[in-house]
Symmetry: C2
Subunit: 283 residues, 2 copies
């Protein structure tokens, strides 16, 4: 029996990443940790997010995971290198796989990125996209924070008229930013927050000619490559997932099923705020 | 020099309460604590909110406050009695002053309450309203959770068309709930969340004949009565407030000014998650 894959997020958004992992590798076992007592990370300072993300990673290490997926864009943006430097298992974040996919997708050289304030203000996507691009002509990256998308998704208002107005307002700002530079249109949009894949149908409708990049989907492919899964997944495996939350909010089960598409059984409470990521991080 | 008044909230919403306190008692000194590292409380379990609120109260006690205002409806709903039992200074919550004002205001006997999921599902407002009402004919209390109002206010979309749609949707549900009982109309609406006073102009416009109850305003009157302030406030005092946050998010200063109407100077970081509210709470 192989060790489980550990997945953590600030709350429930990472379940959209877990869903992609299960789609590609349904025979693996998983431990999902949501830091719901301290959600959201997207509005918090980088220092605080690094502390919290380190505690999440340590909790998963204590469970003996073989690989950690940081299924939270904010934590990936500010804490990934800290975690990588401190642990001995592979650590996959959300930014690099999505940045690589965006580079492969764009023809106009204009890439849009939407996410939380924390992810956008970190500048992580433009930095990683430019670094991966190397010496090729540099794409332009236009970022915009969409803080209302998370609560709208959690409210279940996936196609409410208000959600449509909010999306139109945000996208108008994003595209105006691109147009002001007198450049061609954005043709690729990174959904830089794990809640946003639930808005794909609406975003597809508002932006029919733009390629939407789902970070969870691309991160799952990287995980599969690292674990050398070559066999096609068996189709009839029941998901083997243990769910831990730092707080168990009343609405968790119903929202989780919306993200995962299957019923979540038991959820355990994890007490993590005393943890310290292995000594190297403290140096 | 008298001891300061302590005010705490899960984040910045309590600033609308501080504003009312400053309006009534501008000569007092204040300590404001926002637990921004763990905001929001409204989606968390009662057990977790009690722990966090106890840590906030202990921090304020350690600063020598003479009175604690729990400027958060969720914490007031689930943690007030725990805190009162554990400390030796007066503790004022948001629920009772607003419930009393709603009882005095209603003519139709139909009271609406809007708040976070945590406040609404606690049932605290209906319980306190019925308890205060005693033997008079019982008013009907109709509650509805409006979780999108907080992020909309924090985004500054006080009068955005999307906010109007969201408000209309929520209020339609609330009033349909009242009407289904074949009863007269709701004539009094408790704004049971400290963010909601910023939406008063919009709510007034949508509900011109409904009396809106601002919990911070009524809590400030209770605080003034307890402290026996009878002198009219001097009008030219500069606010004497020390601000503490458990995390200092980048947008704090601009959002705080929107709530307070004056510029926030320095903000200090408070480290509170190791605190334990005095021993009595542990028994």
């Amino acid at each position: 029996m192989t060790a489980p894959i550990g997945v953590f997020d600030s709350g429930i958004g990472g379940l959209s990443v877990l869903r992609e992992l299960l789609r590609l590798m349904p025979d693996e076992s998983y431990i999902y940790l949501g830091d719901s007592a301290r959600v959201p990370y997207g509005t918090k300072s980088a220092e605080t997010v690094r502390l919290f993300a380190g505690q999440c990673a340590q909790f998963l290490l204590d469970q003996g995971v073989q690989l950690i997926v940081v299924a939270c864009n904010t934590a990936s943006a500010v804490a990934l290198e800290t975690i990588r430097a401190a642990v001995d298992v592979p650590v996959i974040g959300m930014i690099e796989p999505a940045a690589r996919a965006a580079l492969q997708s764009t023809r106009s050289g204009q890439i849009g990125v939407i996410g939380t304030r924390g992810t956008v203000s970190s500048g992580a996507y433009p930095a990683v996209i430019q670094a991966l691009n190397g010496h090729a002509p540099a794409p332009a990256v236009h970022s915009f924070a969409c803080p209302l998308f998370v609560p709208l998704v959690e409210e279940g208002w996936i196609d409410h008229p208000a959600t449509r107005l909010v999306a139109q307002d945000y996208l108008d700002h994003l595209f105006a930013h691109g147009a002001a530079a007198g450049s061609p249109d954005i043709d690729t949009l990174v959904l830089g927050c794990t809640h946003y894949p639930l808005l794909k149908p609406l975003l597809h409708e508002l932006l029919p000619s733009v390629h939407l990049i789902d970070c969870g989907e691309h991160a799952a492919h990287v995980a599969r490559d690292i674990l050398c899964h070559s066999a096609p997944p068996s189709s009839n495996a029941a998901p083997n997932v243990r769910f831990y939350l730092t707080d168990i909010p009343p609405a968790f089960v119903s929202i989780a099923e919306r993200f995962l598409g299957f019923s979540v059984g038991g959820v355990e409470r994890a007490d993590i705020d005393h943890l310290v990521l292995v000594d190297k991080m403290m140096g």
